[in-house]
Symmetry: C2
Subunit: 304 residues, 2 copies
């Protein structure tokens, strides 16, 4: 069945190397980006908050009027099996539902059979070791994030051209990534992350127009232990520029410091103490059985 150690996929009820996994050119999941997905991560052989990701995936499918012939428990089992078969200890596990292919001669999405597929690949950090230590330079993009009135951002989706063009814009400006804005210039989210700022004892993350990230939610929970006023609301660009501390949150790395906004130092240009404390607390949760579920690799060294 091929080498699954570089990543495994589940598609058409088979487990295959991810490099061989593909979808039909005619699936609306490709031709109309008519799909939803979610990505949980595995760290040191344990899933982190897998049920939070499954909850969101189920809500996303409902909102897109999709359903698949797999129960939640079966999808959960596929996720474990992908990691077990690949042997990966640190991994992303992506679950996907696509609209499928309309009946011949039709352009009616109601004639489609929705399709489920999944894959596990090695963990990739959104920011490398150096950037996580020193802090990122985050460009405020001139691209607006696709607004909620067009595509509900609570439905995790592949509509990323705004994000990708924001990345190119960031690289052109010598920045490490970009945060996109809304129609009136408030900061919203970036490619794969939510954003937080601290101004004195206030901490703010955008309330609207963003993916409700699991890492974002975890950080909001961790912030309850801090003596800070925390709120989700609008985040004007000027507030981020004047902040004492800025950080981003992502399944692809946890809590990561931002030390420059569009090239200008924020918070003295050094990673903040709150950022470091939250990141430590976030990763510490990865040893907590309340937040994680061990994968049984079947006799391999990391078996639990």
């Amino acid at each position: 069945m091929g080498d699954l150690s570089q990543g495994a996929a589940f598609i058409d009820d088979r487990y295959i190397p991810v490099a061989e996994a593909s979808i039909s050119l005619l699936d609306w999941g490709f031709l109309h980006s008519d799909a939803t997905y979610d990505v949980a991560h595995v760290w040191k052989g344990r899933f982190f908050r897998i049920d939070a990701y499954l909850d969101r995936f189920e809500r996303s499918m409902q909102r897109l009027r999709m359903s698949v012939p797999y129960s939640r428990e079966q999808i959960r089992e596929v996720m474990f099996e992908l990691v077990r078969r690949s042997g990966l200890r640190d991994a992303y596990v992506e679950i996907v539902c696509t609209r499928g292919i309309p009946a011949p001669g039709s352009r009616d999405p109601r004639t489609c059979s929705n399709r489920f597929m999944a894959f596990a690949i090695p963990f990739v950090w959104i920011a490398d070791d150096r950037l996580r230590a020193q802090g990122m330079n985050l460009l405020i993009s001139r691209h607006q994030r696709i607004p909620p009135e067009s595509v509900d951002p609570r439905i995790k989706n592949y509509h990323w051209l705004d994000m990708v063009m924001g990345l190119f814009e960031a690289y052109d400006a010598g920045a490490d990534s970009a945060v996109l804005v809304d129609a009136v210039g408030n900061l919203v989210e970036g490619p794969g992350f939510n954003i937080f700022v601290r101004c004195g004892d206030r901490v703010i993350t955008p309330a609207r127009g963003v993916l409700e990230g699991v890492t974002r939610a975890t950080v909001l929970e961790l912030l309850a232990a801090e003596k800070l006023q925390v709120s989700t609301e609008l985040l004007p660009a000027a507030m981020a520029r004047a902040a004492d501390e800025v950080f981003i949150t992502s399944t692809a790395g946890g809590v990561m410091p931002v030390t420059r906004i569009s090239g200008q130092a924020v918070g003295g240009g050094l990673p903040g103490a709150l950022t470091a404390r939250l990141n430590d607390a976030y990763w510490a949760l990865h040893d907590d059985p309340h937040y994680t579920t061990a994968i049984n690799y079947g006799g391999a060294p990391n078996e639990e």
Copy 2:
């Protein structure tokens, strides 16, 4: 090499049945809808304005900073070859460029090799015979079309979740399709079509936030022969509701009458004379060698 008569694809330098054509799950063309495409049509064995579609495809790739290892002439040849091999006399020919797969461990689109693929499938009308004769009931959607500030609509793209949700909304309301709006309620475009209205001797089609359709451009050219004031500008919903005539334009059908807007009759509830005249003129151009290019099917009955 399989039966190509139901559609043929060109991928990885091979011609295969379209039903067998697929792209990698890991291609950002799928995972981030980071792709552009174009669709030309073949009618009675002739391509219609193929160079207009190729021009737009080239511009779209440039705007997304993509390039492929095929010249324009080679892409054009692939398009002809797909139709020749499939034997289809009435077809869509879709050409696609995807970002590709980033280097291992990277999330940087600059590390991707962009990919080119193409396919030919039988022609599918956006509206069936009955609707083209009687006119469509077009719902004004509450979904906003993804704005130009997020994704440049002149780049033909697969960001369609707003369109698909608009279609579901239309079906729920008993309508045939939907036209999406901008942030302040002007009509913009619908799934696969541009919209025109006639009020007295004025004809308007939205100037902004829309794909610059080849059929739209062709109709604007045909309108020059009419004694009408034609302009591209904002199209308030109220103007469409009060119009004497409403029609949509698409590669997938030409010029098609709209006789109801959100269930309310427009223009007396019957297809308009201008609509019919433009549609006849549009299809008449399909016999004109200035607008079309014959396909050499190699000895088959329709050879030209």
